[in-house]
């Protein structure tokens, strides 16, 4: 399904606010708006309503096409986006490459005609030309951790204007940032190393883990949903690596699946042995680390039994993907929104 602009980030709403289990809301951030026109920005963050095909063919005949429900413009391409959901409110937080972080609220999503999106707050933590490259939110605590291309990390509180702290985390760009525990976060940067930081003592990293490759950047870091010691990363040379935080230095697995940059990796929440990755070569892969469903932990052993299935293959780079339950959405450079139901 094509939409009007290049999708740079796509996120499914974490918990469905509709009773219909097939319908979902998706937030889409674009990156090809008019860059020269500062007074009238044309990149948008929009919420779309869509239905996923189910296994029941009968229901599929009435499947609705994705529809844009509401949108808001933003300056600069969207570099990261997260849903922030409380029981009554639907909030979307996004960061742009002009250095802004904006919190938008979507009102009346159920009433499509009147749905609107409004900006609640906006921060600009860095200097004039800074580019925010990554962001993560701590759901319970209303904190947002932000990494920039200048190597700075800022911690923002949602109800405050100024950052709670900032630290110069790296000399190169911080492309990926993630909370791993309630007070520990990890940054992945262009130096192919993962650094772990504690919020309470932010001056120095508490641990550094490195990948043994020369010149590869990390683009994405994600955490295993039930075993918090395992992380997965996607890097610019096409590799997806698994890391065990309890080990000292090296990744436990490293597999090259894509031809070029892996933009995003995600653990499949329902089947935690599976990882989905999307890359610049237009392919989304599903990595099953335990295809035989052995009871032992697949990540601990040096498991050679990894099955990789190609889930999506389009011509142009898949910039972003998200998965919830069995529903997968991808956003591509081809201005297309691709959605599938995984088996």
């Amino acid at each position: 399904w094509t939409i009007g602009s290049v999708i740079s980030k796509i996120r499914l709403q974490p918990t469905s606010s509709t009773s219909d289990s097939q319908t979902s809301y998706v937030a889409i951030g674009t990156s090809d708006g008019d860059q020269l026109c500062l007074s009238n920005p044309s990149n948008t963050v929009s919420v779309w309503k869509m239905q996923f095909p189910s296994k029941d063919d009968e229901k599929d005949s009435n499947l609705e096409e994705p529809r844009k429900v509401c949108f808001a413009t933003t300056q600069g391409s969207v570099t990261e986006m997260k849903w922030f959901q409380t029981s009554e409110r639907d909030l979307v937080l996004h960061s742009t490459d002009k250095g802004y972080i904006c919190l938008q609220e979507a009102f009346d999503l159920a009433f499509e005609e009147e749905a609107t999106m409004q900006q609640l707050m906006r921060w600009h933590p860095g200097d004039e030309g800074s580019v925010i490259s990554s962001m993560d939110v701590q759901q319970g605590r209303n904190d947002v951790i932000v990494g920039t291309e200048e190597g700075m990390v800022y911690l923002l509180g949602l109800d405050e204007v100024k950052p709670k702290f900032q630290v110069s985390a790296d000399e190169l760009s911080i492309n990926a940032i993630r909370y791993v525990r309630s007070s520990v976060f990890v940054t992945g940067s262009s130096t192919a190393s993962l650094k772990f930081w504690d919020i309470r003592a932010p001056a120095k990293p508490i641990k550094i883990m490195k990948e043994n490759s020369h010149g590869a950047f990390f683009h994405s870091v994600t955490q295993h949903p039930s075993q918090p010691d395992f992380l997965a990363t996607g890097s610019s040379d096409g590799c997806v690596s698994i890391w065990d935080m309890r080990q000292t230095k090296w990744p436990t697995h490293r597999n090259k699946g894509h031809r070029t940059n892996v933009w995003e990796v995600m653990f499949h929440v329902d089947q935690p042995n599976c990882i989905l990755s999307s890359g610049n070569d237009g392919v989304a892969l599903l990595w099953d680390f335990n295809p035989d469903k052995l009871p032992s932990n697949p990540f601990e052993a040096k498991n050679d039994q990894i099955t990789i299935t190609e889930v999506v293959n389009t011509g142009m780079s898949i910039n972003s993907l998200d998965v919830r339950g069995n529903n997968l959405v991808c956003g591509t450079d081809n201005r297309a929104l691709i959605y599938r139901t995984l088996s």
């Binding site: 020269l36 391409s77 610049n280 450079d333």
Partner: protein, 625 residues
């Protein structure tokens, strides 16, 4: 190349003026017309099918790919129709108003947005019509052309008839509607026989149970029912069957029947006068002629019928000329006319590629030396990359142009702005895929210089090393040193050095930075041995000319505490060197500059000289002892 586009001028300079601006404008912004967001969608979708075709051709180089190409042609048509529908819905559902501000902002034209949308819709519709006709004439192979033409007419122009038919069904006495009979004739002329029959059955005088054998309505109804359908024209006996059927119609013409039914019969018989009277456009006339008098016409003979039809009507429109060129079987002329009519090259580019792959169009080299298909694809790609965000789509087309594609691609990539690292990486990937090594280095260089401007030294060096350009790496090293002399820190360098590893030897300046960092770390350690090594290293740097001159004073100043040290750290040779360097700086015509860099004054030089001489004295004493 750009004569098709009108530059839109914006008379005001960009941004809000802070003071009352002078009455004349100083700068204007000229922009080529940009695309509607829906047009961009259309282009992306088309690009997908374009790549599919290229892939198909790559995998089966010599074969005739008829069915696949027809299917892809249908896809193209489908996206055109879809585009019309989407535009319509966008305008009518009010979305246009919601997004007006956003779209208007990027357009900056005087024309109201609605007009642009309407025009776009019309263009898409025409494109669909012409494309379908091309599919019929160029891609259909040796099939009979009549059913395809009827199909074409019905799909593209038959909608109105169907709507009126539905309307008629609602009416009590349809024949009282003044459009009734003209609708009947129109259905017959367009080959919508079953609809015509339905209309006859709606007539209040139609009575299926009538016992009158000569009931004209029953007779006509029966005739329509038994008419050999046009799809059967592939069978050999079709012509005979049709002739027999028309004999029967003829026999009834002279009976006393209502005038309108008489007209119906005369149409069915193929009476040219009546047909000419009732059709409204030349192609209707042509197709009606084919249905009723020459259903088994070959593709090549259509042109005579067309010529005759066109005679009846005034001057053909540009679109008509395109259709006529297709009937004539001239693909090159078709494309040429299409280029003229459809402004933005979209149509021409995709059609020429399709025809080329279908081997309908032979490779044909223009006088400028470029292959025809490639020339048009290049034009289209140029249009695409006039808009910033369409660069990857353009790249896909350029990748398929064998002769000049690479050059264009290089220019395209060089032109892109690198707002963030992701985009840089994507561009580099593109360069790698197409083996554009120089452009790759160019992009790295630009990325590096961008980082340098933001004073991100480590990142800058990383990118510049990828660019393998010594000059810029040296510039970066200079800036690093400058940064050091201003701030006294060299933090960023540590990690940079680790990541870069052995590549450091690449630039002498960078090597110096590395060595200097080593010196600094030795100084920090502080014990006798390290300090001595630091001193030795410093001397070495100065003697081998690795250190740039601006830095000499800094180095000497660093050594200052050593001059008075006990025991003597620097021996005669070292101190001689230091003295030599000192004097060279002091006597240089740039001494003020050097002094300013270190925030030193004239007296400080004296102090340094004195310290050096005292060290010298002690060194000589030690040496001779």
């Amino acid at each position: 190349m750009e004569e098709d586009h009108q530059p839109q001028s914006n008379g005001h300079s960009n941004g809000k003026p802070k003071k009352p601006s002078p009455p004349e404008t100083i700068a204007s912004i000229f922009r080529w017309e940009t695309f509607l967001p829906q047009t961009k969608t259309l282009m992306s979708e088309a690009e997908y099918f374009f790549s599919q075709i290229q892939k198909l051709r790559r995998e089966a180089p010599g074969q005739r790919l008829q069915e696949d190409l027809i299917e892809l042609s249908r896809h193209y048509r489908a996206i055109l129709t879809n585009q019309c529908l989407q535009l319509q819905e966008f305008v009518q559902s009010g979305q246009l108003d919601k997004e007006k501000a956003m779209i208007q902002g990027s357009f900056k034209t005087e024309a109201p947005l609605l007009d642009l949308y309407n025009e776009e819709m019309r263009t898409c519709q025409l494109a669909g019509v012409v494309w379908h006709f091309a599919e019929v004439f160029f891609l259909s192979g040796s099939e009979m052309i009549a059913p395809l033409l009827v199909d074409w007419l019905n799909i593209n122009f038959g909608v109105r008839n169907l709507q009126l038919f539905d309307q008629m069904q609602q009416e009590e006495i349809p024949e009282d509607n003044e459009e009734y009979w003209s609708l009947v004739y129109s259905c017959l002329l367009q080959g919508q026989i079953s609809h015509a029959r339905g209309l006859i059955q709606l007539h209040s005088a139609y009575n299926p149970d009538s016992i009158n054998p000569n009931d004209p309505f029953l007779i006509v109804d029966e005739l329509l029912e038994t008419m050999p359908p046009i799809e059967d024209c592939i069978y050999d006996n079709y012509q005979i069957a049709l002739a027999q059927w028309q004999e029967r119609c003829n026999g009834l013409v002279n009976l006393s029947i209502p005038a309108e039914l008489g007209t119906v019969l005369r149409i069915l018989v193929g009476d040219m006068e009546i047909i000419k009277e009732q059709t409204q456009t030349w192609y209707e006339l042509m197709i009606a002629t084919i249905i009723y008098s020459q259903p088994t016409v070959q593709k090549t003979d259509v042109r005579e019928i067309a010529a005759a039809s066109i005679e009846e009507y005034p001057e053909p429109t540009p679109v008509d000329s395109i259709l006529l060129a297709m009937i004539d079987g001239d693909p090159i002329l078709t494309i040429r006319l299409a280029c003229q009519f459809f402004e933005n090259w979209w149509f021409a580019a995709h059609l020429v590629d399709l025809l080329y792959q279908a081997q309908v169009l032979e490779p044909f080299v223009l006088p400028s030396g470029v292959d025809f298909r490639e020339a048009i694809l290049l034009e289209y790609a140029s249009v695409l990359f006039s808009h910033e965000s369409m660069w990857n789509v353009a790249a896909s087309y350029l990748g398929n142009c064998r002769k000049f594609g690479k050059v264009y691609l290089e220019r395209l990539v060089e032109k892109q702005r690198l707002e963030n690292d992701t985009k840089t990486l994507k561009l580099l990937n593109l360069c790698n895929v197409h083996n554009l090594t120089e452009t790759n280095q160019y992009v790295c260089k630009i990325a590096g210089m961008n980082k340098l401007k933001k004073r991100r030294f480590a990142a800058a060096v990383m990118w510049l090393m990828k660019a393998k350009d010594i000059r810029t790496v040296s510039i970066a090293a200079d800036k690093i040193l400058q940064h050091y002399s201003e701030t006294g820190t060299l933090e960023q360098i540590d990690v940079m050095i680790e990541t870069l590893g052995p590549d450091f030897i690449f630039s002498p300046k960078l090597t110096f930075v590395d060595k200097y960092r080593q010196i600094q770390s030795l100084w920090k350690v502080g014990d006798y041995e390290s300090v001595k090594s630091a001193a030795k290293l410093t001397i070495q740097l100065m003697s081998t000319n690795v250190a740039p001159k601006q830095f000499w004073l800094t180095l000497i100043y660093d050594l200052f505490p050593l001059f008075e040290a006990v025991p003597v750290m620097l021996d005669v040779a070292d101190v001689t060197l230091v003295m030599h360097c000192m004097e060279e700086i002091a006597l240089s015509h740039r001494r003020d500059e050097y002094l300013k860099m270190k925030n030193l004054k004239e007296e400080d030089i004296q102090i340094l000289r004195m310290a050096i001489s005292r060290n010298m004295a002690r060194a000589i004493v030690v040496n001779s002892a």
